[in-house]
Symmetry: C2
Subunit: 301 residues, 2 copies
Amino acid sequence: MTNNNWQLQPYLEERTGLIESALDQYLPAVDTLPSSLHAAMRYSVFAGGKRIRPILMLAACEAVGGDLNCVLPAACALEMIHSYSLIHDDLPSMDDDDFRRGQPTNHKVYGEATAILAGDGLLTEAFILLSNPEVWDDTSVIHCREVIHLLAKNAGSRGMVGGQAVDMESEEKTVDLPTLEYIHTHKTGALILAAVEIGAILGGASSIQRRALCRYGEAAGLAFQVADDILDIIADQSELGKDVGSDLQRGKATYPALLGINGARQRARELQRIALSSLDVFDETARPLKEIANYIVDRSF
Amino acid sequence: MTNNNWQLQPYLEERTGLIESALDQYLPAVDTLPSSLHAAMRYSVFAGGKRIRPILMLAACEAVGGDLNCVLPAACALEMIHSYSLIHDDLPSMDDDDFRRGQPTNHKVYGEATAILAGDGLLTEAFILLSNPEVWDDTSVIHCREVIHLLAKNAGSRGMVGGQAVDMESEEKTVDLPTLEYIHTHKTGALILAAVEIGAILGGASSIQRRALCRYGEAAGLAFQVADDILDIIADQSELGKDVGSDLQRGKATYPALLGINGARQRARELQRIALSSLDVFDETARPLKEIANYIVDRSF
């Protein structure tokens, strides 16, 4: 079935609504003690954000004909981990950012101690949720251990946290392309890969489908970061919600710095092609994944 | 069977060796990228420490006649979470401690950014380990989800992290006894309770045994903190590895501050009695738990 009226924007809005109402349900209420900690955790989770990772997880599940309700808790857990990583990355001793998405960062509102603990709380909450008996049924619970393992590995010191560590070490240093790719495949790519792979597992993917989705996830994850690097240079502050060229000011290595704007765009297009071609094994059910890959790259042109 | 030659100290040393060699095996090697992050993670895990939480987990398993090998990975995961919490608690924006157990704290050696990430890495590593297929066999894997859930809940915002958050909020404030008990049952108690409950589960405890061990864990956990508060006032700096009276200087609420030294010791004895009486359902297999409860309280007299 093809649907030429299909549009990405309403799709993203509908999915964002689904994910945000699930997040609201799964996060501890503000009146749960300690209130200020839970307020801080919720502040960053609900401070905007494109929900690209959980949307990708749902879209991967959809591509293999899975049930979205089975994957929604894992999608929320992933978004909690993404939110925690932003809180910690923004801290004064890390990237020292006062604003994110146009709003004051967590530590500017709640103070550094609470921000650190809110991050710790969100990271832990992801695993509380993923191991909650209520979010698994008799069929899906066989995937519980594997999903937790995949998410934790991609979030940890050999995944996202490792990418951030190398990124911090590389500030003000001359960074070569392999190091830059290491930073990005770990810092951003690992969680995006986990998103599509978990969507595949919980959607009941065959091994061919799962491999195809992982290939998509790797390419889309890196493309996302290349596009972000380009946007950091070309976008309005208003559009990005952070200082334009802030990576450059901070002496961070970026794709445009290493390859030039045109070289970086070429790399983004190449990754886009890999992402799209990996979807060849699917029919129209992979339409959202395809359009998301296009959206990720096209916004940097 | 009674064994009057049984001695606590050699037992603790033997168990410490067992746990430390397992930790060494389970933690990412220093030559695994990023090296400096893994060095920082290992630095704090191996910077001394009494291993009281993992030892309690093993002892609970032993009390119900379980196999120690089944519980060792979970014991290491718990110790990783304890280590992460110390790294984050010591940060300048938290307790701002330069020394712990007589050695420079993580951020003094590796810098704040790496210390935050080392904590994040250790917390995540605990869940990587607990969901690793290699640490579960066909019999024990049925407990995987429950053990992860228990550990995460007790470590998170309604457990240990929540206790630390209320502790930070309460600095320089007048704190009443219920708030102090909230701080301690969460900040210290939650992880100690998780230790014995997970030991019970993985040891194959009956529901009566499990309830008894939880009662033990609650009492021993709180006793541990009351004793620590007393020690903070009476101990030599050399003995504790931190500044004497540092809680007092920081305006932290403590049991001796609220109840006086004698009142706090009375509370410790009361908790010791509860812990010991909860072990009545066991025979000699609970000897280590009994002696640990005695050791926890007696060192504050």
